[in-house]
């Protein structure tokens, strides 16, 4: 690759990031774009799973019909799909409430997407809901699980190794689904794998939850909810929805700090109390750097104590934006694949001790190799 080509690609990447940031910051900006630029921006927004969010804000301002054909159809479709997903998520929550109505009460803390819907945080508008995540105290986990199984939910059928992985090591049970619906219900007893380096005490999270009026559910305290979003993005390793998750973080920071004047002063001490300072450092850093989220200087300064050593930090500064932002839909995505693989690998490194990770790796590679053998047979015949 020549240096001119490299410069061209870098310029294109920078432009793509700018387009996405402008579009989410002010959707009306889309009206000013030349048709070709609007075309690629809409594709990027769809790929970043935030087209519904942008469409929602355009509808709020009565701007959808201001675009030329076929853009209104594209925006309305994204809106309708997001609204349908939100309905499906809230309905699943309603069914869980029904299933547990006559059971002994257990704290049921709704996490992530469904919690945003329940709280009406700004990021919930037009957000594509995926799974229903519930946090319950560990000693109530089996009780809630068996109650849902009695009412018709079914656990995914897994290999023996994966069952062991979930039951012994993971912070959640294998996903359950009701056969009449398609929503995965994930029961958690913590927000990260207890085998990893981060060990947020679950009882500390559960001690500060807020009840959602009119439901048997509660949600995490605002700071904890934000810290969870950060931990999920920077400890989870799945970067396909990374841009959207970083947007969640920026929205939650802006929303909660505007609601509560004490938010920022309590933020870092809480991250320390929960032992989530590293993902909190990354969350603040990249919400600020990639999306321009305003963070008070003293909070940024406090968070600097949790920064990784300089070489790691430089590497993360290089690969996080690459992994977060969607790449041009018509170009090769080698750089992004490498970045996402590195972050995926890192997420495993921080979640499991080395020996366990090694055995997990050996198992997964062997299992994949054996499965591949099976798939190849019919073709060879």
């Amino acid at each position: 690759m020549t240096s001119a080509e490299r410069a061209r690609i870098a310029a294109e990447e920078a432009r793509i990031r700018q387009c996405l940031c402008n579009a989410v910051a002010d959707p009306a900006w889309l009206l000013e774009l030349a048709p070709r630029d609007l075309d690629v921006t809409l594709r990027l927004l769809r790929r970043a799973r935030v087209l519904g969010r942008v469409a929602w804000r355009l509808r709020e301002r009565g701007m959808i019909t201001a675009f030329a054909h076929p853009v209104p159809d594209i925006l309305n479709s994204a809106l309708i799909a997001a609204e349908a997903r939100a309905r499906v998520g809230l309905w699943e929550l309603d069914r869980v409430a029904w299933a547990l109505a006559n059971e002994a009460p257990a704290p049921l803390v709704v996490l992530k997407g469904c919690a945003y819907l329940l709280c009406g945080t700004p990021n919930a508008a037009g957000r594509l809901f995926s799974d229903l995540d519930l946090l319950v105290p560990r000693d109530r986990l089996e009780f809630v699980e068996s109650a849902l199984l009695r009412k018709g939910w079914q656990a995914a059928s897994l290999e023996a190794y994966d069952v062991k992985y979930y039951r012994e090591w993971a912070h959640e049970l294998p996903a359950m689904t009701h056969p009449e619906r398609e929503v995965e219900v994930d029961l958690h007893h913590n927000i990260v794998m207890p085998t990893g380096r981060l060990k947020p005490p679950a009882d500390l999270l559960l001690s500060r939850t807020r009840a959602v009026p009119g439901t048997p559910f509660s949600v995490l305290d605002p700071i904890d909810m934000t810290l969870h979003a950060m931990t999920h993005l920077f400890n989870g390793g799945e970067m396909d929805s990374g841009f959207r998750e970083l947007l969640d973080i920026a929205d939650l920071l802006a929303h909660f700090s505007a609601q509560d004047a004490g938010f920022w002063s309590a933020f870092w001490p809480r991250a320390e109390a929960l032992g989530l300072v590293r993902p909190a450092f990354y969350g603040l850093r990249y919400a600020n750097r990639c999306l321009g989220a305003p963070i008070p200087l003293e909070v940024l300064a406090a968070s600097a104590a949790a920064a990784p050593p300089l070489p790691i930090r430089s590497l993360m500064d290089e690969i996080v934006p690459r992994a977060l932002f969607p790449s041009h839909p018509d170009r090769s995505r080698l750089g992004q694949r490498v970045a996402r693989s590195l972050i995926y690998a890192r997420s495993h490194w921080v979640r499991m001790p080395p020996l366990m990770l090694a055995s997990h790796f050996v198992h997964k590679v062997t299992a994949r190799y054996l499965r591949r053998g099976e798939v190849d047979k019919p073709e060879a015949a």
């Binding site: 790929r47 159809d73 349908a84």
Partner: protein, 311 residues
């Protein structure tokens, strides 16, 4: 004629079309959809040029409803084993398919894109045609002869809307034409060749999931009228049954409502607006069930339907 002046796909010469498909892509207006096709696989451009001959070409200076890409996968294998990869906006919805099925893969890929991406429309799994400003809607499951009947009627004075998607905006305004190549399967190919010798039918593609498939070009008049919608006036539930004599039965509106709602691709997703739209369609239409085996007598029944002389 130069590429700049060409107004339809068919006006591009074969080399221009193949080269454009392989490079910047070819934009085609299909009713309410503006689709960009990019194809880098041998043997697709010639039938594509025939099947979309009358469709309007679009400049690149626009937003497209979907960006479809079909390319041959590079492999060290002899030709019969080659595969094509179908992607939409760089994402691959299914595994690579045999290169010999490329054209069918592209057409089914467009179906998939429509079904997933166009939730601002109520989408019935139905064939729709128009006569004298009114639409006949034929909701049916695969295997009921929907496409065959649709291809036949499209060559007997009915304007083709779609053999697969009954599309309308939930806000109303009638059904929207989406005239596209119609994929005949297996025995239907010979049936239509005989029934409508004037029809242009693409290559027979053997060994697909649905057997042998060949696409019929939508008649020029149907493509020309692609921006003219029509309200529903008749609902017909067709059922092909080997050796059956023609039977027509009027269906009660309640039953017709249930069958039409269950037939929609996105009824639950749209929620209330779909209910209202289907209710309005059924209220405005007469509803029939049609059992047939012989195409001529079925087409004659539709002629009586158009004259309000049926049942």
């Amino acid at each position: 004629m130069s590429a700049q002046q060409a107004a339809t796909v068919g006006e591009l010469n074969p080399e221009q079309l193949a080269s454009r498909l392989a490079r910047e892509g070819v934009g085609v207006r299909i009713g309410p959809l503006d689709v960009l096709f990019r194809v880098r696989a041998d043997g697709i451009a010639p039938p594509f040029r025939q099947l979309y001959a009358q469709h309007p070409l679009l400049s690149h200076d626009r937003v497209f409803s979907g960006h479809l890409d079909l390319r041959e996968v590079w492999q060290w294998r002899p030709r019969p084993h080659r595969k094509v990869r179908f992607t939409v906006d760089g994402q691959q919805p299914h595994e690579n398919m045999p290169a010999a099925q490329g054209l069918a893969v592209l057409e089914w890929g467009l179906n998939l894109v429509i079904a997933l991406r166009f939730q601002s429309f109520l989408m019935l799994h139905a064939a729709v045609l128009e006569r004298q400003g009114a639409a006949v809607v034929m909701p049916a499951q695969p295997g009921q002869g929907k496409t065959t009947l649709c291809a036949a009627l499209a060559h007997r004075g009915w304007r083709l809307f779609s053999d697969e998607f009954g599309m309308m905006r939930t806000a109303g305004g009638g059904f929207l034409p989406l005239p596209r190549p119609m994929p005949l399967k297996n025995a239907s190919i010979a049936v239509i060749r005989q029934f409508a010798p004037e029809a242009w039918i693409g290559p027979e593609i053997a060994g697909t999931l649905k057997g042998t498939v060949a696409h019929v070009r939508p008649p020029a008049g149907s493509v020309a009228g692609a921006q003219t919608p029509a309200p529903a006036r008749w609902i017909v539930f067709p059922r092909w049954q080997a050796g059956a004599a023609l039977r027509v039965r009027e269906v009660a509106k309640g039953e017709a409502f249930m069958r039409t709602a269950a037939n929609a691709f996105n009824y639950e997703l749209l929620g209330e607006s779909a209910y209202v739209a289907v209710r309005d369609i059924i209220t405005a239409s007469r509803c029939f069930e049609l059992v047939y085996s012989d195409l001529d007598s079925a087409v004659a029944a539709f002629e009586r339907l158009a004259n309000d002389d049926l049942g």
